[in-house]
């Protein structure tokens, strides 16, 4: 893997992405009135400085190592190594499952998304039998309905496709 100042490029990514986000935030802040932007701008400028220190502390230079020793001693022991292919695949899958549930809740609503998600997750990830998956899905939907709709009197979201706004 390509290295910059003795550190794999991937290890700079979190601080670099956050730095760019903060820069964008700062630019947006300067579009507001002076009163509105005082605190956001103050925090964003401080963030840019802190993130620059974080980036430098990740380098294997003398100054970088000294910074790590002073401000992030524990981080030196846990340098984020790039994950192996299998771990990366599982990370991607876990995030995808979550995004899938959030999207399903938005589109088809709570009472359909919950059983579908639970049953699909148990079947595809847990390799459980169809009977167990269907029973768990239905049980979970019943639990959610009893707890939130009956007990707490909350109108469960029907989903954009079924009249939700």
């Amino acid at each position: 893997m390509r290295r910059v100042f003795g550190t794999p490029i991937v290890d700079y990514l979190p601080a670099l992405v956050l730095w760019l986000l903060t820069a964008g935030y700062l630019v947006t802040a300067y579009g507001y009135s002076v009163e509105s932007r005082v605190m956001p701008a103050l925090v964003a400028w401080s963030m840019l400085a802190l993130l620059m220190l974080d980036l430098i502390s990740r380098t294997q230079t003398r100054f970088g190592r000294a910074l790590t020793r002073w401000l992030n001693p524990a981080a030196a022991q846990v340098e984020a190594a790039s994950p192996d292919r299998d771990t990366a695949r599982r990370q991607f899958a876990a995030v995808l499952w979550l995004a899938g549930l959030a999207t399903a809740l938005l589109l088809i609503g709570v009472l359909y998304a919950v059983p579908v998600y639970v049953a699909a997750s148990l079947r595809l990830r847990g390799r459980r039998s169809y009977t167990v998956c269907l029973a768990a899905g239905a049980g979970m939907a019943l639990l959610v309905w009893l707890l939130f709709a009956v007990l707490l009197q909350i109108n469960l979201y029907p989903g954009l496709l079924f009249g939700g706004a």
């Binding site: 925090v43 910074l67 768990a136």
Partner: protein, 505 residues
């Protein structure tokens, strides 16, 4: 004074009051244990139902809820790393590693007893402080609130186990998120990029559910297996050991309770600061600070003692000045007004029986809810043995639906999912998540207080050093920020070999 205390107890020891106290406790435990709900939701849902009750009965019900919520919250914080309520997030730091080591019973036992002791010490403090409450609250003005918010962030960052820089970075990120939405000072709507949901800002509870419950479930899905790393080591028989552990650390309990009492009495600061401050001070006072975050029982005791003590002392500003200490107290204020009780200095004179009855109800609820928590340890600890393929989808579903249920906004689901992914990335890249929580809680207070302080002093920054309380807070912040450098310098001085004069031959 004694007869007023006794009349409060007498009023509470009626069958109807005790029944409603027990009902409130049961509701509090359930609402506390479900991430996303918590005391404010429970009280808000109960508020219209209390309308037909006598004021004293309504207060017994409310006291039951408020006293039991922290215990319910600590159970899920320890077992699933999913804090039921925001202040319980501090309990996760050491409670969850203990559950992973198969010591869930020990952790819940310690949490339950610390809860009770914290509640008792908090009550004693309230009884002592209530008569002189006015002076204590009036010490804090806008500059002090601003500096207290910054201090909260710095304290948590400096105790982020050797990751102060990253702690400050995530704290700054949390503040940036906290500034999203309608600005009360200027009337501008900031950083919403056209999304109407964001006008009210990023809601704390959905973000918190994402950062902890969902992020931890993603982590579990990636790693596979169960929460308890080794199923064979789950010992549920050590519940009493947890109780004993609490009594073996009286200093931690006392420190946590006092922190909770002081912080609780300051309006707008809230339980999150109390629990994290208590945790941080315990880490700093410990002879073995490196053991925290890896399953140190003191890391469970300290925040739990603070949370319940805070609940008691938060009554001071609410009752004495009508200034709610947090969301839960704000809803409780509504219940008081609904029953014709007008909070303020007059209430301290006219409604003493109700006030002390409420204090006793809160204390009884703290103790009884802890006992119930102890009884439930065995079935609850079994949760840590459930495989991730089964546990993760269930917890994620409840977390997302729970976040929607807070105020019926579907945007909450998106916030929870986004913060869940963000929380996982922070875990993966070794950034502390706790400073984000503290920043989200204190961001609004910090900005509002900053503007008020500047207006008070015609835009001059000298207000932060002119008043002795703010000058003291500023000094503590500077010392904490300089502490890593001081520590290294001290270590170097200690390591330097002492020059020994060689004897002349």
């Amino acid at each position: 004074m004694l007869h007023v205390w006794l009349s409060g107890i007498e009023g509470l020891l009626q069958l109807r009051e005790l029944t409603f106290l027990a009902l409130g406790m049961a509701i509090g435990l359930v609402f506390g244990a479900i991430p996303g709900l918590g005391g404010s939701t429970a009280l808000a849902l109960l508020m219209p139902l209390t309308y037909g009750l006598e004021p004293f009965t309504a207060l017994a019900l409310s006291g039951g809820v408020m006293g039991a919520v922290p215990m319910g919250g600590s159970i899920t914080a320890i077992l699933l790393n999913a804090p039921g309520t925001a202040p319980n997030a501090a309990t996760c730091i050491d409670g969850y590693p203990l559950a992973q080591q198969g010591k869930a019973g020990l952790a819940i036992g310690a949490a339950a007893s610390a809860n009770s002791l914290g509640g008792i010490i908090g009550t004693i403090s309230v009884l002592a402080v209530l008569p002189v409450a006015k002076e204590l609250v009036l010490l804090f003005g806008p500059p002090e609130f601003f500096l207290l918010a910054i201090l909260g962030l710095v304290v948590v960052a400096t105790t982020s186990r050797g990751k102060m820089l990253r702690g400050l970075v995530t704290g700054g990120f949390g503040l940036m998120v906290a500034f999203i939405g309608y600005d009360n000072v200027s009337g501008d709507v900031r950083f919403t990029y056209g999304v109407e949901y964001l006008w009210d800002g990023v809601r704390l509870v959905p973000a918190l559910i994402g950062l902890f419950a969902v992020a931890e479930m993603i982590n579990l899905m990636v790693k596979g297996g169960a929460v308890a790393r080794d199923a064979g080591t789950v010992k549920i028989t050590r519940t009493m050991s947890g109780v004993i552990e609490t009594f073996r650390h009286p200093g931690t309990v006392l420190r946590g309770s006092l922190v909770g009492t002081v912080v609780g009495a300051i309006p707008g600061v809230g339980g999150v600061v109390a629990s994290f401050l208590s945790y941080s001070l315990t880490v700093q006072a410990s002879k073995d600070p490196d053991s925290f975050g890896k399953g140190n029982i003191e890391g469970v005791i300290a925040p739990e003692a603070a949370i319940n003590a805070k609940d008691c002392s938060a009554l001071i500003p609410t009752l004495a000045f009508g200034i709610p200490g947090g969301a839960e107290m704000a809803v409780f204020l509504g219940i008081l007004v609904l029953h014709g009780l007008q909070p303020g200095p007059l209430m301290l004179i006219q409604n003493q029986t109700e006030i002390y009855g409420l204090v006793w109800a809160l204390t009884a609820s703290c103790i009884l809810a802890s006992c119930i928590g102890l009884l439930l340890i065995r079935p609850l600890a079994m949760v840590t043995l459930i495989e991730s393929e089964v546990l993760a989808p269930i917890v994620i579903c409840i977390a997302l639906v729970g976040s929607f249920a807070i105020d019926g906004q579907i945007g909450n689901v998106v916030v929870t999912a986004v913060f869940g992914i963000l929380g996982y990335l922070m875990l993966r890249f070794d950034y502390p998540r706790l400073t984000v929580v503290v920043a989200l809680v204190l961001g609004g207070t910090a900005e509002r207080s900053f503007h008020q302080a500047m207006m008070m002093n015609n835009g001059s920054w000298s207000i932060f050093v002119d008043r002795w309380v703010s000058a003291l807070l500023l000094a503590v912040i500077v010392i904490l920020l300089g502490s890593p450098a001081l520590r290294i310098l001290t270590r170097r001085v200690r390591k330097r070999p002492i020059a020994v004069e060689e004897p002349q031959t």
